[in-house]
Symmetry: C2
Subunit: 138 residues, 2 copies
DNA sequence: CCTTGACCTGGAGTCGGCTCCAGGTTGCAG
DNA sequence: CTGCAACCTGGAGCCGACTCCAGGTCAAGG
């Protein structure tokens, strides 16, 4: 059995700069995420420079999706911790994702409501403006 | 013509504590919003205590809706400034709201996409879990 | 080889959005 | 009147999520 954490010898890897470019995160943020435990320790060259493997990118993209849905870093840390702990935590991870999914559903409903209210306000203003321009076509 | 800013003598008004209770904001936050210019200066008693009028609450609720849709305070400041500047700014306000509405639409689409991805992940995990429990019904 | 841009670490700084506090004042129930 | 909870102000502090920096090391093209 091969170690899950070794730097794969013959896999194409990316430098932190290349990953930054691909993901839109800054190198600083990538290091910060790693320090914070959102990302497992990335493989290194002999000279201690990070080399990101394909699997790292997959995980990163998942994280970014969670972030885009407003999940706080603390929750991502919990999730990453469970993930690192192995298969025994699948049930917990599932629960976490489901809870987040529910939060998401609430937020989407709220957004919809507010968007509608906003639309009303907008059409109200549009009418107001139309009347203004009618009486005062400066 | 009556001043738009005088404390109406015979209108039912609310103390900051009552407004806090009704809106879910803390008194500190209400004062902060006022200091920041999101809210016009609230009418005061002789002893300098705030008394919120109905119109203040209406505006507050509008602000809260903007906040719920993720509008940053800086933008709300701009909007509040325009509003305070009178009717001549209706076009600008309209533009601001429309821009925000567009942002909102984008965010809703992104959320939808991510929710879908999340659902896939969830069902993947659910299946994994089911198989686990089948082979290891501890 | 050597240069030079990309990379490393630890730690300080920034920004948005509140939240808390000290030290004093107000206003209503009794 | 008086007591006491609720209010006032200015300013410091906090939290999350980065962002920047100094001072040093690495790696790949020429």
């Amino acid at each position: 059995m091969t170690s899950a954490h070794a730097l794969p010898r013959r896999e194409r890897t990316l430098t932190i700069g290349q990953v930054a470019e691909r993901t839109g995160l800054s190198p600083d943020t990538l290091r910060y995420y790693e320090k914070a435990g959102l990302i497992q320790r990335i493989g290194r060259t002999g000279g201690n420079q990070r080399r990101y493997a394909a699997a790292d990118l997959v995980w990163l993209e998942f994280l970014l999706r969670l972030r885009e849905t407003g999940m706080p870093i603390a929750d991502m840390q919990r999730y990453a911790g469970l993930r690192a702990a192995g298969d025994a935590t699948v049930a917990d991870r599932l629960a976490l994702l489901r809870a987040h999914r529910a939060v998401l559903a609430d937020r989407m409903r709220a957004l919809e409501r507010n968007a509608q209210a906003l639309d009303e306000k907008i059409s109200h203003y549009a009418q107001l403006l139309a009347r203004q321009q009618e009486t005062d076509p400066s």
